[in-house]
Amino acid sequence: MTVRALSPHCTPAAALRIAFLALTVIWGNGVSLGDVLEQADDRGSVITLPAPAMRVVSLAPHLTEILFDIGAGDRLVGAMAFSDFPEAARLLPRVGNYSYLDLELILSLKPDLILGWRGGNRESDLETLGNLGLSVFETDPRTLEDVAALMRRLGVLTGHLETASNRAQQFEAAIHRLRNEYGSRRALRVFYQVWDQPIYTLNGNHVVTQLIEGCGGINVFSGLQSVSPVVSIEAVLEADPEVIVGPRESDQSALWMSRWTTWPTVTAVKGEQLHAIPADLVARMGPRLVDAMDAMCRSLAAARTHYDG
């Protein structure tokens, strides 16, 4: 999917506004305008709402973030555990976590739309909710483009299409800018470390590879089969990355960095190019991926300065 180049500086007159709405709605694979809202979710099921959703339950932290971002945060009546951004999200009733959903609680909240995430919710739970007669919109975003499209689609369902389109445009523009600035520089070999013991990394199918490549890097493990494989230290030594990027959890100094100092043969260690990025930014398929990419690009730029002078 290509990044659309609609300029965010358009000044909408009434007619332009309608045309703008029509364009973005059609682009967002939706049929709208009128009483019924329809969207196909990532299963291929078509969700039909008689009116914009007023009581939404979000079953993933990134879906919560997106909803707040597109101005529909007040529509949320329940959220998954770890929905902690923005601050207002912490006040939402918790309906479950990655192991279990409290189906009774969800029922009692009387939602008219449930946002599910195939990567994190149990298929059986989503199916049960569907069988109980609730509208379940299953999502499965994998790329930056998917995230932008998701913002628009949720905009349709919540009747916040205009804000959503704006935000999506800004998202895309920011990504585009970062790519332009950093993407064409000399490719650095990057190792992204999700976890320390054992060492988990992410392959080419994960969005982090898009971030790395957009900032002018190469994910040394992009070719591995599993999305989140465990790799041995030897494998990392062999790949000899120039930069190691890992998680920064809240304000803890990253312990994983000090563990690498025992392996000075690795280029990244020798060059002291171990960088930490807040884990939530990378892990959540939401609007803050821009921040993640920004941090990633700055890290790689610093590394580039070190290596190339």
């Binding site: 555990a81 918790r94 309906v95 479950g96 976590n97 990655y98 192991s99 279990y100 959903l101 409290d102 189906l103 009774e104 609680l105 029922l107 009692s108 009387k110 990567g119 994190g120 149990r122 298929e123 059986s124 739970d125 199916e127 049960t128 069988n131 109980l132 007669g133 988990y200 599993s226 999305v227 989140s228 494989p229 465990v230």
Partner: protein, 335 residues
């Protein structure tokens, strides 16, 4: 001299009636308690089809199927435990000791790894249990020795083999799937009704066990003695093995390997009602069903909105109760 002082069949009837009441109370509690608290009136109305929408959905679609499943699983495991203990003449025997749950687990984990839809899981569980049983029979047949100790040893080795495979599968599985696998392994009720065929298997096993109850009493005295009293022990033991495996398969397809029930309920009931299988069998099934219904309810409530695996709760409830009974039993003289 009258045995036990009172009319034994009256005492039997009283015990069974008491246990049935316990099951009914457990069911009633589990239908009214949860994240959404309902009154007895609401629940009753929902059962009769006249409740408000929320109560009906919660009671009929969420709680009732789980409670019925818990009843089926608990009674199946309890009966399987009774049968295993008389088959192997070993008080440490539980339904899984001969490897049935290991086989189920391996096939379920393979299905999960392959990304199969969750509706495949019960089928995989059942197939795994049956494969394990067939393997056990083949191994026992080839050695020619069907004695309890040999069967137990063969089963333990088979279970260990499955265990190794399970560890292997867990270590190579992608991180996202491990959580689901672990929860299945801890014993977790599927959100489905038990269904006709499962209930049918459990009822058939109950009928058959009651018919054979006196034979089981004899078998408890030892193989040689039972044969000297006219029992065809070879056939009987094969029937017990098949019955126990079928029951375990039913339980595992509904709830994964829920532990503790099959091991401790038979012991508990033996302390309470004695070793006569005519009474031990139905009381164990009722007690097992009640325990699992209450455990399922607690699993939903204790840590809400998070749900705990049922297998964890059965142990937490059962251990102190069992210890209490052991103390009382020791003072009365029954080992």
């Amino acid at each position: 001299m009258k045995h036990a002082g009172k009319n034994p069949s009256a005492r039997r009837r009283a015990t069974l009636s008491g246990l049935i009441v316990l099951v009914v109370i457990a069911l009633a509690l589990s239908l009214t308690r949860g994240s959404v608290d309902l009154s007895w009136g609401d629940a009753a109305a929902a059962l009769m089809g006249k409740g408000n929408a929320l109560a009906s959905a919660v009671v009929l679609d969420l709680r009732l199927p789980r409670a019925l499943s818990a009843l089926v699983v608990g009674s199946a495991l309890a009966l399987a435990g009774v049968l295993m203990q008389v088959l192997l003449r070993n008080p440490l025997a539980d339904p899984y000791v001969l490897g049935t749950s290991g086989g189920s687990a391996v096939l379920v984990l393979i299905a999960m790894m392959a990304g199969a839809p969750h509706s495949v899981v019960p089928v995989a569980a059942g197939a795994g249990a049956l494969i394990s049983m067939v393997l056990l029979l083949l191994l026992a047949r080839s050695s020619g020795d069907w004695s309890s100790s040999r069967l137990l040893l063969t089963g333990i080795v088979l279970a260990s083999g499955w265990g190794a495979l399970i560890s292997f599968l867990l270590s190579v599985s992608p991180a996202q799937q491990i959580q689901g696998m672990l929860f299945w392994l801890m014993g977790d009720l599927q959100p489905v009704t038990p269904g006709w065929w499962r209930s049918g298997v459990v009822l058939a096993a109950l009928m058959l066990s009651l018919i054979l109850a006196r034979d089981l009493n004899l078998l408890a005295e030892g193989d040689l003695r039972a044969r000297s009293l006219g029992l065809r022990t070879g056939l009987l033991r094969l029937a017990i093995l098949l019955g126990a495996s079928a029951l375990t398969a039913v339980a595992v397809t509904l709830a994964g390997p829920v532990g503790f029930v099959g091991l401790v309920i038979p012991h508990m009931m033996r302390l309470l009602v004695g070793p006569d299988h005519r009474l031990l069998i139905p009381s164990s099934m009722l007690a097992g069903g009640a325990l699992l219904i209450l455990s399922e309810m607690t699993a939903r409530i204790l840590w809400a909105p998070q749900q705990l695996p049922v297998g964890v709760i059965t142990a937490f409830i059962g251990v102190p109760v069992f210890l209490l009974l052991l103390q009382k039993g020791a003072s009365r003289g029954r080992p």
